[in-house]
């Protein structure tokens, strides 16, 4: 009987990464900007998506994939706006994976879309490890959860391409230290833009929407 060590050197999530790459190529082929929307539960992921859809009406055609443990509450809200939406229920799973997104993409009218929001399961930990085929990763923090979240969950705040702080209308009522929050964000992720918004009052939303619209036309090379 002989024992030996066999070198493997394989990324554990390589199967997921391969499918994510296929998704990404498919979406790029249609000229669709795909955004992976991550946040803790109740941060306002669906609210921000709804507000953004409203603001982009007539400018960009949006599609949505909703990821939730159960139910289709969020998908129904999106569908009411006339936006194509597919609900994924993970049945307890704490994140979306590339295969779920691949199946969802088959149900969306990709040739009639410029922008795809993939609303991940509410969670600040698990979604970061699983690429879905997105071009932009974003995280939505929110005022009631406190200014210390970036320091407590550095993994997600460090890797995203864009950050939103939602519910700034509640700032006067809570002990949220905005300076500490901004400092922590800069420490972890110097390059990513931060938009401070309220989906309730609409404050700060135009800057976010304009930024997103600019990034939705990667092929437009204008003067």
């Amino acid at each position: 009987m002989s024992f030996k060590t066999l070198p493997v050197v394989e990324e554990i999530l390589s199967a997921n990464d391969r499918i994510a790459l296929e998704n990404r190529k498919l979406l790029q082929g249609y000229g669709i900007l795909a955004v992976n929307v991550m946040a803790s539960p109740g941060a306002g992921k669906t609210s921000l998506i709804l507000r953004t859809i409203e603001a982009l009406r007539g400018r960009l055609r949006v599609g949505v994939i909703e990821g939730d443990v159960a139910g289709r509450v969020d998908a129904d809200k999106v569908a009411e706006t006339g936006t194509p939406v597919v609900q994924i229920n993970t049945g307890g799973g704490c994140h979306l994976d590339a295969l779920q997104v691949q199946n969802a993409l088959k149900k969306l009218p990709l040739d009639e879309m410029d922008l795809l929001f993939i609303e991940n399961v509410g969670n600040l930990i698990c979604p970061t490890g699983f690429a879905l085929g997105e071009q932009l990763n974003m995280v939505i923090a929110n005022v009631p959860e406190g200014h210390d979240k970036p320091i407590k969950y550095p993994g997600i705040f460090a890797v995203v391409d864009v950050l939103v702080l939602n519910k700034i209308d509640l700032m006067p009522y809570l002990d949220f230290d905005l300076t500490a929050f901004r400092t922590a964000i800069r420490a972890l992720n110097a390059g990513a833009p931060l938009f401070e918004v309220s989906c309730k009052t609409g404050e700060g939303l135009p800057a976010w929407v304009d930024w997103l619209a600019e990034h939705s036309h990667p092929l437009d090379v204008g003067p």
Partner: protein, 117 residues
């Protein structure tokens, strides 16, 4: 259906190990050596727990999972010093006090090797 994060991941670890073991015509997998960065947030005990369950009646039944944990490392944007960022505090360069740094280690997540017979 994955009731927990670690379950899906553990299935991937098992799939990778079995594929390599079968290709090498191994009789049995004795151990799987994993390299896991501390920023990935995966829990060793939880992976081993799922592994013992998932590996039943496979070549990997009874295999030991060996975790090499890689601590996070950051490189200062300003003076390029590499440092280990503190847990739950602002990332500040110990040399020049500049805020932040680029993550250069801590996100590893791979099967390095397997021990077979």
């Amino acid at each position: 259906m994955a009731p927990m994060h670690e379950l899906a991941v553990t299935q991937s670890i098992l799939d990778i190990a079995l594929r390599h073991a079968e290709r090498a015509k191994a009789q049995r997998i004795l151990a799987i050596n994993l390299v896991i960065g501390e920023l990935t947030g995966f829990v060793d005990d939880s992976i081993q727990f799922y592994f013992d369950f998932l590996s039943r009646d496979t070549l990997a039944q009874g295999a030991r999972l060996v975790f090499e944990r890689i601590p996070p490392r950051a490189r200062c944007h300003t003076c390029r010093t590499e440092y280990i960022p503190p847990d739950s505090r602002l990332w500040t360069c110990p040399e020049c006090d500049a805020l932040g740094g680029e993550v250069i280690a801590g996100r590893e997540f791979s099967v390095a090797s397997i021990e077979i017979e």
